[in-house]
Structures are given as C-alpha cells and as structure tokens.
C-alpha cells in the first residue's frame, strides 16, 4: 500500500495499524495515513523505504509509534537512529516534534517511561472492568500450576479478556474494529494528544 496523504503515521505491525486507524476515525482525523513498519528489526530499512517513495515529498508531518518492549529509552533511540539514517529530523525526546516538512514526532508505547506495548494501554483502559479479576486469576492459576507465563503478558491478557466477548475477537486488531475499545478513557490520553499533535502542521 502507498501513502497518499500529507500526514503519515508509521506503526509497528498489522494490529497497531488497525488500532490507530480506528482511533483516528474516532477522533475524525481522516487526514492521517497509517502504514506499518513491520517490527523493530526492520525499522531502519522501512523508514528509509517510506522516505524514498515519491509520495513522501508531500508529507508535512510524520509520526512514528513503537513499543517500548523491555526498554523505552532504547526503543526511542532506535527510532531516532533510523530517522537519522534516513536523513529525517530527529526529536530529542518522545512527543517532542522536530523539523518541518516533515515535522517528526515519536510516541513510545505504553509510555516513554514504561516497559511494554500497546496492549498494556488497553489493559489499563479496562482495569475497572468486572472481568479483569477473572483474567488476573487465570494467569495466577497458570503460575500456580507451574505453566510458563508468556513473555508479552499484556497481549495474552487482552486475548483472555476478549474471550468473554461475542464473536471471534482474539486480539487488539479485532477489538479496535469491533468497537470494544473505550477511546475516551484516560489511559489513551497521551495517544490522543500525540495524534492531534501530528495532525497539525
């Protein structure tokens, strides 16, 4: 797929793409094109590929979102390195824009100070839900039965939580599309601010 809009948001994978597209719809920010980078390992190559596209000449604002995973500082650094290699403006910290045409802004998920990923935000947004104790109890039970706990726990927690919903909603991609996300929850405030920030020139 090729981006054709003046505002471009690059996210890690398919799930992130679907999530952000739905979030932008909710915010009625239809001027932002969302494309996936294919994971952190391809960050440098993918950013360079997008930058080299002829359509990129039209881009006036670029947002990049990646997961902190085990270290938010390293995640931010890897984005900055990739931006520098592609000869693009490099912000000094997350959520701070740098440069013009394009202006570049980076968001680290769930937060610039926390380990984790997009799904951690989702779990935060439903932490008051009456079924969350059941989800936690499930993983506690796994632990008690000496079953290995998955490395990306929040992704699994989202799956277990969504298992209670009607239909075949097994991940955040479907959750976003089936509108079982509370977009206005305070857990998503930073994401919302970021999206508004990149939609402004």
């Amino acid at each position: 797929m090729t981006h054709r809009k003046q505002f471009l948001l690059l996210v890690e994978g398919k799930d992130d793409k679907a999530f952000f597209e739905e979030f932008l719809k909710h915010l009625t920010l239809d001027n932002i094109q969302v494309e996936q980078l294919g994971g952190e390992s391809k960050l440098k190559t993918a950013i360079k590929l997008f930058k080299d596209r002829p359509e990129f000449l039209e881009v006036i604002s670029l947002g990049v979102v990646i997961d902190a995973d085990t270290n938010p500082d390293n995640a931010f650094k890897s984005v900055v390195d990739a931006l520098r290699e592609a000869d693009l403006p490099t912000p000094s910290k997350p959520l701070e824009s740098a440069g013009t045409n394009p202006k570049v802004t980076v968001l680290i998920l769930p937060d610039e100070k926390e380990k984790g990923e997009l799904e951690d935000l989702y779990i935060k947004s439903v932490e008051e839900h009456p079924l969350i104790p059941c989800v936690n109890a499930y993983f506690k039970c796994l632990n008690q039965n000496k079953q290995p706990i998955p490395s990306k726990l929040s992704k699994k927690k989202v799956q277990v939580f969504l298992a209670s919903k009607e239909g075949d909603i097994i991940g955040i991609r479907r959750a976003a599309k089936e509108e079982v996300v509370q977009w206005d929850h305070k857990a998503f405030n930073k994401v919302k601010d970021f999206l508004i920030q990149i939609s402004e020139h």
């Binding site: 797929m1 090729t2 996936q36 391809k42 993918a46 360079k48």
Partner: protein, 364 residues
C-alpha cells in the same frame, strides 16, 4: 562491467547519477519518468565512439522514418536527445567500469563554421581537409578515457556535400565498440532474419546447445531446436514431443521473447544487454524461470543486464529467483521526480526488497 553511471542533459535527465550497479539491474518507475531513456543513455555510452547511436535509439522508439529538414525552425533527429530539446547544452554520459575506470562521452551540436575545414586523417606531411557546407548540421561525440585521452567523431548531415560522400556520414570513422551491446525494444517486432543471424553466430561457435539448455528451463518439454526456412523466412522450430516440429511463435509470445533475450545475452560476452519492458508478452508464471536463466547466462557470459519493468510481479520474481542463487547480484533502481522536477534514482538492494515485500511498501 559498469559500477556506476551518470547522464547529464540527456532526454529528461538534467543530472542523473546511479551510484551502484550490479550484474543484473532492473529499472522501475512511473510512466514518462525516463526508464527507456536510461537504457538509451547506457546504449549510447556502450558504443563509446559512435555518434550515430543517438539516432539509432530514436529508431528503437519507432522514429526511424525521420525526414531530415535543414530549415532553421525544423526539428532535427537528434534534438530530442537533449533535455528540453536544448542543443546548446552538451549531453554527458559517464560510466565507471570495473576494469577500464571512468569513460565518458560528451555529445554536442557544433556549428559548421568551427568544422569548416576538417581534418579527417593524416599527419603533418599528408593532411586531408574536408569541407562541409554552411548549412551542414554536425553532432560531435567526444570520448574521454580514464587517462584523460580524448577523441572526437562527427556525425554530419550536409545538404550540399562536397565530394562523393553520402550524407549523413561519420568522420573520422570510429573504431568498433569495445564490447557488444544489444538493445531489445519493447514494441518493435524483430525480423526473423535478425534472430537467425544471432543464432548462426552461436552455431559457428558450437554454442547452440546452450540456447537449447536455457530455453528448456523455461519450456521443459522442449527436446530440440531447429532453424528452418518456412515461407521464405528463417523461423525457429521446436520439438515438444508432438508428431511434428512447431514454429516458436506457435509456442507463444513468451517463448519468442525469452528466445530474443537468451540470444542477445549469449551474443554479448563481456558486454551489455538492455531490455525495455522485459515482462512484455510474458505470463507471470514464466518470470521466475526467465530471471533464473538471465542470472545464470549473465554470469556465464560475463554480461551486464539492464531491464525496465512496470510490473511488481516481475520485480518480485527477480528478487525470488536471485534469492535462491548462491550470489544475489541484483539491484532495483527506481527513477522518480524530485521536488524540483528533476529525475533521480533510488536504488533498492536485497534487504530493502525483502522488507518492502514483507511489509507491503511499494518499490515500483
């Protein structure tokens, strides 16, 4: 083999540089960005000494039937070689060869007054001077080698030629090109005789079995290949196991196109083959096999191949074919317009293509 190439003031290229070339180069880009023009620039450069190649590339575009007019306002056949038809700015084509270093050619139109008395050959004792008329049009090609040694060759159109020379003529007579180069145009039907001639050259060298071998990769049912005069034309016939030989055109456009490509690579040892719109007439399922054949042949004959394509399937097929080989000697060069409206090149290597295909980023 060229390691890099550049063109200035040629067709739509004000200043185009390709910093990295490999044995197999696929040129992509939108319509009218200059894919064919890049092949033409490479073709003219591969001739090194022959100003007439500038007109030959026009013929590849179907413009061979050009009437030359000498009125001041009349368009001349070589005008379109120059960016914006501006013949006051010289064309420069330069390529860095792996063995010969940088070889450049400068093409410019010179007024007959400068050329008025022209030395065609000779020494101080025996100087032959040649007069051209005041209305003559002269295209001068100046070749400069890596050691900065230069030679010039003029293509002269003279409405009032003196002496027995027929216009146009080239003076002095240029040497043969340093290596073979073939340009396979996208639309022009190749006469049977041309293909037969190329095959004949290989037969003389007892290399015709190679052609059969490579065609068999594309059509495994092909048992033998014969050049047979049929209806007055030399037409390739193949044995695919039926009770009679079949003319190659009856086996499909793909076989004819594949044969054309194979014949040219085999006839261009240490040379260059330029193929415009390589996927023309080819079903997508043939493409991976064809690229394997091109890769294998180019390596065997030490031929450098440049091909243009619009097709993502074609680029994917090439990437896949070369990924399966021991050596990935392949690059995709996409031509595109810059903000200023000039054309520049983005080159994609194996890592780029792998990522682009996996993520779904456009590379055409």
């Amino acid at each position: 083999m060229l390691k890099s190439f550049g063109a200035k003031n040629f067709r739509g290229f004000q200043d185009l540089t390709i910093n990295k070339l490999k044995r197999i180069n696929l040129i992509a880009g939108k319509n009218n960005v200059g894919k064919t023009a890049l092949l033409e620039a490479l073709f003219i450069h591969s001739g090194l000494y022959n100003p007439n190649l500038g007109l030959k590339v026009n013929a590849f575009r179907g413009l061979e039937e050009v009437t030359v007019q000498f009125e001041k306002t009349a368009e001349f056949p070589w005008d379109s070689l120059f960016t914006w038809f501006d013949t006051t700015k010289s064309i420069e084509l330069y390529g860095e060869d792996t063995k010969e270093g940088t070889r450049s050619i400068r093409i410019s139109e010179v007024p007959p007054s400068i050329n008025g008395l022209k030395k065609t050959k000779g020494s101080r004792l025996n100087i032959e001077l040649e007069q051209v008329s005041a209305h003559a049009r002269i295209l001068r090609l100046k070749y400069t080698d890596d050691k900065n040694k230069s030679n010039s060759y003029d293509l002269v159109f003279d409405p009032d030629p003196s002496g027995p020379k027929r216009t146009p003529y080239i003076t002095p007579t240029p040497p043969n090109p340093p290596f073979p180069a073939f340009f396979l145009a996208s639309r022009i039907r190749i006469p049977f005789e041309v293909e037969a001639d190329l095959y004949g050259k290989l037969e003389i060298q007892k290399a015709e079995q190679d052609i059969l071998h490579f065609l068999q990769i594309i059509e495994p049912n092909l048992k033998s290949l014969s050049l047979i005069y049929s209806m007055g034309k030399p037409i390739f016939h193949g044995d695919i196991g039926s009770n009679r030989l079949l003319p190659l055109p009856m086996m499909g456009e793909g076989m004819v196109r594949s044969m054309s490509i194979i014949l040219r690579i085999a006839n261009a040892p240490n040379g260059v083959v330029l193929i415009d719109e390589i996927e023309n007439g080819l079903h997508y399922s043939i493409l991976p096999k064809l690229w394997s054949v091109i890769g294998e042949m180019a390596k065997k004959y030490n031929t450098q191949v440049f091909a243009t394509s619009h097709s993502l399937e074609c680029i994917k097929a090439a990437h896949q074919a070369f990924s399966d080989e021991d050596e990935y000697d392949f690059l995709v060069h996409r031509l595109q317009f810059s903000k200023e409206g000039d054309v520049h090149v983005v080159t994609h290597d194996r890592d780029d293509l792998e990522a682009a295909f996996e993520i779904g980023i456009e590379v055409r």
